[in-house]
């Protein structure tokens, strides 16, 4: 591999990152703008963060989003982990290919379609659209992300650990809970974080599936922006960005650390 930074490489990195992050950077900078006008810089201020905290509608939406994210991430982790276990463990059953395809299809399914189909389902089931339906919808689309993350860890998990636990007196369920789960915990946690952030910033699916009194933060932001962007929105978005970034960093650090540890253990095992 070429380790040198050629001129071309530097330019492409700079241009690429600029493309990605200049808009976000601008948003963050303008959230500290004194002026009410978004495009005119009038000095540094944290005034809009104060405004934000006094905006009851915004706070309500944030509270809805948080509840949706917590519940749906937890449910998605549970279901996604189970799906991953079945996919890895039960290598031969009727319709396995179909099952795995169906678990992973939502990864590439356009959100509009997922949202619309869920909406149709809720209507057909005569389910009133509330915060509960948003949670359901988010669980559905984020569980496949969890399944992918957990599955990739389970593939390298040594089955004989579980057998050893059973041999020493655990029922299969207890063996899974006391041995398998702690060992794959980093992947499960990373999956939860991923589901959490996905739910946090989803607009499309939430718009389709939520009803009155269940406006999520992205929905609230979107509707406010249509009336004109205020620095207050910039402040909210900055907080959101900070939250998501932290979650993603934590998830990847956990995953990376456990991977390094595992590699080291495997190296030791080979050497020993």
């Amino acid at each position: 591999m070429n380790r040198h930074w050629s001129g071309f490489n530097i330019v492409s990195v700079v241009v690429g990152f600029a493309f990605l992050y200049i808009p976000i950077l601008l948003l963050i900078i303008y959230s500290f703008n004194e002026s009410r006008l978004v495009t005119v810089w009038a000095g540094f201020s944290t005034r809009w963060y104060g405004e934000m905290l006094r905006n009851q509608a915004l706070l309500d939406a944030a509270w809805v989003t948080l509840r949706v994210a917590l519940v749906s991430a937890t449910a998605a982790t549970l279901l996604g982990t189970l799906a991953a276990v079945v996919l890895v463990r039960v290598t031969r059953f009727r319709g396995r290919l179909l099952f795995s395809g169906m678990v992973f299809a939502p990864l590439v399914m356009p959100e509009v379609i997922t949202g619309l189909s869920l909406l149709l389902l809720f209507i057909a089931m005569n389910l009133d659209r509330t915060i509960f339906t948003v949670m359901l919808a988010h669980t559905t689309f984020s569980m496949c992300f969890v399944a992918v993350v957990v599955q990739s860890r389970l593939v390298t998990f040594d089955r004989s650990l579980e057998e050893a636990a059973q041999d020493l007196g655990c029922t299969p369920l207890k063996a899974f809970l006391t041995v398998t789960l702690p060992v794959i915990a980093p992947a499960v946690i990373a999956g939860w974080m991923l589901a959490f952030t996905l739910s946090l910033d989803d607009l499309v699916i939430a718009s389709f599936t939520s009803g009155s009194g269940a406006t999520t933060l992205p929905m609230r932001i979107y509707s406010q922006v249509r009336l004109g962007v205020t620095p207050e929105i910039n402040a909210v978005c900055t907080v959101l960005i900070a939250l998501v970034t932290t979650a993603v960093i934590i998830a990847s650090v956990i995953n990376k650390r456990s991977m390094v540890q595992r590699e080291r253990a495997e190296q030791l095992a080979r050497a020993g």
Binding site: Q166, G169, C170, G272
Partner: protein
């Protein structure tokens, strides 16, 4: 320390008609799809026995062991432990424990927690667990490593922890799948003796899977030689080596020279073969064979004498040329080419320091052996 020979010889429940088997494997068959891994296999294992399953890779040893542990279910047949049918008893209710080939130590637990895991499942009181764990770790000389995690241990240390964990519940039978497979040669040899001592001192029944015949010979009271899901012979190491029941077993265990021949004379005491190479073989067989029938004489390399001159008796002697010669320190291996072109392997102990220098390449030598040196094998 016990003396291997005497105690071992007096322990032979398999030849006692009144002895009851501890483990009875009865006509067990295991298929994976249309592949038969274990084929209508029957076997009795006795209490306090050190039993080895020996066979080439893929012959079904692990599958048999896993059926004993309960991880695989036989398609046909039954496995009895102390007369109780184990069919349908899940692994966690069987009074046997297994030591896994990969050791399968729980990576998120300390050595002490690993060893105590089985006891915790039994809901044993905490102080009692701690006491037993300490006792087990002392047994395998791992006391000072109690607080470590498995990834902080060497291969040999992990093997000891896995052993301690499997022993902690004081099972009736311990199943060991290639227990020493991951260790280097020197450590393996040391550990073989430790394992046999441990098994003897604790009075346990061990069933060990191995593909290393030396390991099986060193450790086991009896060896089952397996091939393609079936047992070819079950006997003590000495019997398997000196009195193999078939060409397969003779060839599988150690190295052996095989002479085909036709019976020319036979009575209860002696049988004489005429080999196609044109020499006569006379041997003690103990049974009368039909004149003209085809038999094979199996002859281990160490039972052949190599001399420059023709032995006086003239029987069981054949001339050839030294074709290859390997000096191994304690002994020398000769490959002697007979005039027919057949290569015979002979090994000679280097009793004197100059012993190996007497012969060299292309020497004409005589090979000879006693009348009771070989084993008669049916074809």
């Amino acid at each position: 320390m016990r003396s291997l020979g005497n105690i071992r010889r007096s322990f032979a429940p398999w030849s006692d008609a009144n002895a009851k088997a501890m483990i009875s494997i009865r006509n067990v068959t295991k298929r994976f799809g249309d592949f038969t891994a274990v084929d209508n296999l029957s076997l009795d294992i006795y209490e306090r026995e050190f039993f080895a399953l020996l066979g080439a890779s893929g012959c079904g040893k692990s599958t048999l062991l896993r059926m004993l542990a309960g991880f695989e279910t036989p398609n046909e047949g039954a496995i009895l432990l102390d007369g109780v049918d184990l069919t349908g008893v899940p692994p966690y209710r069987r009074p046997l424990n297994m030591m896994f080939q990969s050791y399968a130590l729980f990576p998120h637990m300390t050595v002490a927690d690993n060893v105590g895991f089985g006891l915790k499942q039994e809901k044993m009181a905490k102080p009692a667990i701690a006491e037993r764990v300490a006792q087990m770790l002392k047994l395998v000389k791992m006391s000072e490593f109690a607080g470590r995690k498995p990834h902080q241990l060497s291969g040999g240390q992990r093997q000891r922890v896995a052993l301690a964990r499997a022993l902690a519940k004081q099972p009736k039978v311990l199943l060991l799948d290639e227990p020493l497979g991951a260790l280097d040669k020197k450590l393996r040899e040391e550990t073989q003796f430790e394992l046999t001592d441990l098994q003897y001192d604790l009075g346990l029944t061990f069933v060990v899977v191995t593909h290393d015949q030396e390991e099986a010979m060193t450790m086991a009271d009896r060896i089952a030689v397996m091939d393609a899901g079936q047992i070819r012979q079950v006997a003590t190491p000495a019997e398997v080596y000196e009195a193999p029941n078939s060409r397969f077993v003779a060839d599988f265990i150690g190295s052996i020279n095989l002479f085909d021949g036709e019976v020319t004379r036979s009575d209860a005491a002696l049988t004489e073969l005429q080999s196609p190479e044109g020499f006569a073989l006379r041997m003690v067989d103990g049974q009368s064979r039909g004149i003209g029938s085809d038999l094979t004489l199996g002859l281990r390399p160490e039972k052949i004498a190599v001399t420059h001159t023709k032995p006086n008796s003239g029987v069981n002697a054949v001339e050839g040329e030294v074709w290859d010669l390997a000096y191994l320190g304690d002994m020398s291996i000769f490959h002697v080419k007979l005039d027919s072109g057949k290569i015979i392997k002979a090994s000679v102990v280097n009793a004197s320091r100059s012993g190996s220098e007497v012969f060299t390449y292309h020497d004409r030598v005589w090979l000879s052996f006693a009348e009771d040196a070989g084993v008669v094998l049916e074809r």
